[in-house]
Amino acid sequence: MDFNDTTEQAQFRKTCREWLEQNAEPKSSSSRESFSDIDFLEVAKQWQKKKYDAGWAMLHWPKEYGGIAASPIERIIWAEEESKFNVPRGIFEIGLGMCGPVMMEYATDEQKERFLPSMAEGTEIWCQLFSEPSAGSDVAGLRSKATQDGDNWIINGQKVWTSGAHFCDYGILVVRHDPNLEKHKGMTFFFVDMKSQGIEVKPIKQITGGSSFNEVYFTDVVIPDSQRLGAIGDGWKVAITTLMNERLAVGDANGADVKEAFNWAKKQDDSGEYLINNRATRESIADWYCEANGLKNTKLRTMSALSKGETPGPEASITKIVSANKLQDIGNFGIDSLDMAGMLKPENNEIQSFQNAWLGAPGLRIAGGTDEILKNIISERVLGLPQDPRADKGLPFKDIPSGN
């Protein structure tokens, strides 16, 4: 056991670090990146372009699409180094993490040449259009309709929870082309120009007050058949490829962590004593520390496997369940630490961080697979337990009970 890079890895890390030092500011002592800049999107695009020009944007991609054909371990080393700098995040992850791999696998060479470099460069941003009002955890229950019309398809229906749809240029889309077929067999996959006529994007106001998700309405939207990804009826198979990538992309919940809770408890008053001297507080901090380090060390085990050229085990599948719940608990703790003043929103970054954690965590426990769906995945794929008997099995989609 050791935590050292190999000579090649150390050299690669140095190259990453040197470029980052020349092109970005290191993070200050506060643990998360921050931008006072008015136009976050513009800043993010500029950073993406800078990375692209130097080959860092999608470093594991082949050279012809703007990457440097980096290995999985090099990709992790880059991410580790980049995370030490104050750079914008959160705009390109879905496009690059989910849409990119699908395009790579299913698009034609001409389409790849046309779309992948601009996706990596950040000049075109992509979103994912899967969930629907009546298809959440059961995403295969989606109902948006595709009707073939010569060389085109006509799309009607509604998507929901689409991150960034209001600023995206393209999206990947799965829709139902035949409700007479069984649920999983009647779907087809496309990519779509988000500026197409008939697409309407409406932001959803979340419990945080912010709006990072949207409803997307399709009314007689025309998509050329050439933008179909995979065969007619293979929509579910293509979607699963994407969802597997999503589960890797949606990882550790970002926000107030155990270190913040610990440092806060060391200085916060609690009935005339420091909060850290409260036994319940100490137990909670111990629990969160064990979870946080358990995830960190799990990641190191995954990296160890990649570093040796092996396929990592399923251990990383626990990440989101553990981190989103921990985030919720830590947010709760921070607010409760104010006792009766816990209702207030004072001008204090630490308190705001706890409040943001508490308000944001419920969304993280749902996005990218609910806790419950993730536990189903662990028990079925890792432990090999049988699937639930299904009431929708073998039925034509149109005959499946839907409650309305």
Partner: protein, 370 residues
């Protein structure tokens, strides 16, 4: 980056596993429990023959001269098969204390006989029905003569020696005692898990040898626990995994309401929670194993982190394994209770969960980096 065991260490682990499986370690544990023996002597002798008692003992004393990592992989297997042997007392605690703190003369006398099994050691700390501390040790050493009564001492009957945490005029010290003295009285104590015997040990002006210096005994003891906690964690991981494996296979075999019970989400999610707890415990224990093997300054926090995670994992897995088995899980006949009981033994043997959480947080407070 390599947070993993080497191929050689993995090989040792798989050999250990095959050996314990072949020897029917689990059934032996049940037999010790039912017969109220102290240990399974035959299994212990075979373990001695394999050289496991000398894994960490340097070659100059006749040991294998291997590292803590080799001990970790063996510990995981002993935990998986609930081996009814005094390994944790004699190897993780007693042997480590001799290697680390004894003077050369004692090492030459004791270490070769630990390897051969002629000496089995244990650690005697607790005196009353609460946690021992620097300020409540009443056992006293005067002129190398030790007097006091220890309770809940694991494996004391089979042990030839104990390492006793004692008070003295200069402070807390560690004393080595030979049980062959008539002044040592050992009595069996009833416990909630009879698969490993626990005893009271009374010392009456018993001759003893100082191990380490005579005033820092409590620090030595704490450091011994930090080390042993990593090895206990691996035993706990082995036990947790065995509990999850039992629950998983039962959930696939058992039918209710016309379907396998493992197809119910209530069961699935329970087992997924067990998997999550084991994964956290395992990853933290791997890190602690590294800290132990390199004597890192991070050992104290790392071992407490491993210990807390592994204790939680084994407690969860062993109790939910019973729950998954329904009424069968509550019977003496099924093995579920053996794991449930061992999980409690391992969780209190070197201090309770809440005391290890306290250790973790006070460790964080001491390290200025966090």
């Amino acid at each position: 980056m390599n947070l993993d065991f080497s191929d050689d260490q993995k090989f040792l682990q798989s050999e250990a596993r095959k050996f314990l499986e072949k020897e029917g370690s689990l059934n032996r544990s049940r037999k010790v429990l039912e017969d109220k023996q102290s240990i399974d002597k035959e299994l212990w002798n075979k373990i001695v023959e394999l050289g496991w008692t000398g894994i960490r003992i340097p070659e100059e004393y006749g040991g294998l001269g291997l590292g803590h990592l080799e001990l970790c992989v063996v510990a995981e297997e002993l935990g998986r098969y609930l081996a009814p042997v005094p390994f944790s007392s004699s190897v993780y605690l007693f042997t480590e204390a001799i290697i680390k703190y004894a003077d050369e003369e004692v090492k030459q006398d004791i270490l070769p006989r630990l390897i051969s099994g002629d000496i089995i050691g244990t650690l005697a700390v607790t005196e009353d029905l609460f946690a021992p501390s620097k300020t409540n040790i009443k056992t006293l050493t005067d002129n190398n003569l030790l007097t006091g009564r220890k309770i809940a001492v694991p494996d004391a009957e089979i042990a030839t020696h104990s390492l006793v945490v004692s008070n003295s005029t200069s402070g807390i010290c560690l004393r080595l005692v030979d049980h062959s003295s008539d002044s040592v009285i050992i009595e069996h104590q009833d416990t909630i898990d009879e698969s490993r015997g626990h005893f009271s040990v009374e010392y009456n002006n018993t001759p003893s040898i100082l191990i380490g210096d005579d005033s820092n005994g409590w620090d030595f003891y704490e450091n011994l626990l930090d080390q042993a906690a990593v090895l206990f964690s691996f035993e706990q991981i082995g036990g947790s995994q065995a509990s999850l494996d039992m629950a998983t296979s039962y959930a696939k075999e058992r039918y209710a309401f016309g379907r396998q019970i493992g197809s119910f989400q209530a069961i699935k999610h329970k087992l997924a929670d067990m998997y999550v707890a084991i994964t956290l415990a395992k990853s933290n224990s791997y890190y602690a194993a590294w800290a132990l093997s390199t004597d890192s300054s991070d050992l104290s926090v790392a071992s407490a982190t491993a210990r807390v995670s592994s204790t939680k994992a084994f407690q969860l897995c062993s109790k939910e394994n019973i729950q998954t088995h329904g009424g069968n899980g509550f019977t003496w006949e099924y093995d579920c209770h053996l794991y449930y009981k061992r999980s409690k033994l391992l969780s209190v043997n070197i201090g309770s969960l809440s005391n290890w959480k306290e250790k973790l947080v006070s460790g964080l407070e001491k390290s200025n980096t966090y």
